[in-house]
C-alpha cells in the first residue's frame, strides 16, 4: 500500500468490497451458510448422545453415594438410575427441540419453543 494516496486507496477498496459483497451474496455466502449448518447439525448429533450418558452417570453416581453413606442397600441406586434416565431423556428432548432450551430452566426459552408440552 502506497502512502501517497491513502484516501484514494481506501475508496477503491471500499468500492471493491461493495462489489464483492453484492456478487458474493448468492454464491459464496450461501455455501458458507450451508457448511455452517452442516457442522452445527453434526455437533448437535454428538450432543444428544452425550446428554443421555452424562445424565445417567450423574444419577447413578448420586444413587451409589447415597447408598454408601446411608447404608440403604440398592434402593437409592435404583431410584436415581430411573431419575437419571428421565433427566437424560429430558436433556435429549431439549437439545433436539432447540439448542436454546437448556436443562434446569423452563422460562426464558418460551419464545423459542412455544409448543412446549411440559406445562400442558
Amino acid at each position: 500500500m502506497s502512502d501517497d494516496h491513502p484516501k484514494a486507496d481506501l475508496e477503491d477498496l471500499d468500492n471493491r468490497l461493495k462489489r464483492v459483497r453484492k456478487d458474493g451474496k448468492s454464491g459464496t455466502t450461501a455455501a458458507a451458510d450451508n457448511g455452517k449448518s452442516d457442522a452445527a447439525g453434526f455437533g448437535m448429533a454428538m450432543r444428544a448422545g452425550t446428554e443421555m450418558v452424562s445424565a445417567l452417570i450423574v444419577g447413578v453416581a448420586i444413587g451409589l453415594l447415597l447408598d454408601n453413606w446411608l447404608d440403604t442397600g440398592p434402593w437409592f441406586f435404583v431410584v436415581f438410575f430411573f431419575l437419571g434416565a428421565g433427566a437424560g431423556v429430558l436433556n435429549v428432548y431439549r437439545a433436539a427441540t432447540s439448542m436454546g432450551s437448556v436443562p434446569g430452566y423452563g422460562p426464558g426459552t418460551e419464545t423459542k419453543r412455544p409448543d412446549d408440552t411440559i406445562d400442558k
Binding site: 457442522a39 455437533g43 450423574v58 429430558l90 426464558g108
Partner: protein, 241 residues
C-alpha cells in the same frame, strides 16, 4: 505395531515436588504452556501493525475476535459483553490445543477428561455463582418449571436437578471423547500402513489423509460447541426470567 493408546501417556519432564503435592511439569503441562504462548503470540503479534486495512494475519485475529463477539451477541445479548475476555480465552485455548495436538509428535491435552472436566466444572460453578449472585434464592425456583401441577413436583424437581448437574459431565465427555476417539482412530490406521507394504499400504494411508482433514473439522467444531454451550448456560444464568 505401536500401541495406539501410547500417545495419551502422561510423561514427567521436570519432576517438582511441593510438599505432598506432585507439581511436576508433564508433557500435558508443557503443551498447555505452548498453547497459551501460541494464542498470545497469535493475538498480540497479529494486532501489532494495527492497520486500517488488515493484512492476512491481522485479518485472522480480527476474524476470531468477531466470531466470538457475534456468538456472544447472538446467544447472550449485550449483557454478556463483560464475559467476552473469558469466553474468547476459553475458545482460543481449546481451539489451539486441538489444532496443536494434530501436529505429529505433539500431545493433545484435551484428550484427557481430567483437563476437560476441570474446564467444564469451572464454567459450571462460575455460571451457577453468577446466577445466584444476580437472582439470589430465586434461582432455585427454576428447578420447578412454570405451570407444573404440584403433584408432579416430587418427580420433576429431582429430574431437573439431575439434568442441571449433568451439564459439566456432558460438556467434558463430548470434548474429551471426540479428541481421544479421533486420535486413536488415526493411530490405528497409521499402524497398518507399513505392515501392509507398498501394495496394500495405500488404503490405510488414504484413510488417514481423509481422517486428518476430518480431525481439523472436529478440532474446530468441538471448540465451537464447548464455547457455544458456555454462552447458552451464561444466557440462562443472566435471564432466569
Amino acid at each position: 505395531m505401536a500401541n495406539p493408546l501410547a500417545q495419551f501417556e502422561i510423561k514427567t519432564l521436570v519432576p517438582i515436588q511441593l510438599g505432598e503435592v506432585n507439581a511436576s511439569l508433564t508433557n500435558s503441562g508443557l503443551f498447555m504452556v505452548i498453547t497459551v504462548a501460541a494464542v498470545s503470540l497469535f493475538v498480540v503479534l497479529g494486532m501489532r501493525s494495527r492497520s486500517l486495512v488488515p493484512g492476512r494475519w491481522q485479518s485472522m485475529t480480527e476474524l476470531s475476535y468477531e466470531f466470538i463477539a457475534s456468538m456472544i451477541r447472538d446467544n447472550v445479548g449485550s449483557e454478556g459483553r463483560k464475559y467476552f475476555p473469558f469466553i474468547f480465552s476459553l475458545f482460543m485455548f481449546i481451539l489451539f490445543a486441538n489444532l496443536i495436538g494434530l501436529i505429529p509428535y505433539s500431545f493433545t491435552f484435551t484428550s484427557h477428561i481430567a483437563v476437560t472436566f476441570a474446564m467444564a466444572l469451572f464454567v459450571f460453578l462460575g455460571v451457577t455463582v453468577i446466577a445466584i449472585a444476580r437472582h439470589g434464592l430465586h434461582f432455585f425456583s427454576f428447578f420447578l418449571p412454570k405451570g407444573v401441577p404440584i403433584v408432579m413436583a416430587p418427580i420433576l424437581v429431582p429430574i431437573e436437578i439431575l439434568s442441571y448437574l449433568s451439564r459439566p459431565i456432558s460438556m467434558s465427555i463430548r470434548l474429551f471423547a471426540n479428541m481421544m476417539a479421533g486420535h486413536t482412530m488415526m493411530k490405528v490406521f497409521a499402524g497398518f500402513i507399513i505392515p501392509l507394504g507398498i501394495l496394500g499400504g495405500w488404503a490405510p494411508l488414504a484413510v488417514d489423509v481423509a481422517l486428518t482433514v476430518f480431525e481439523f473439522l472436529v478440532a474446530f467444531l468441538q471448540a465451537y460447541v464447548f464455547t457455544v454451550l458456555t454462552c447458552l448456560y451464561l444466557n440462562d444464568a443472566i435471564k432466569l426470567h
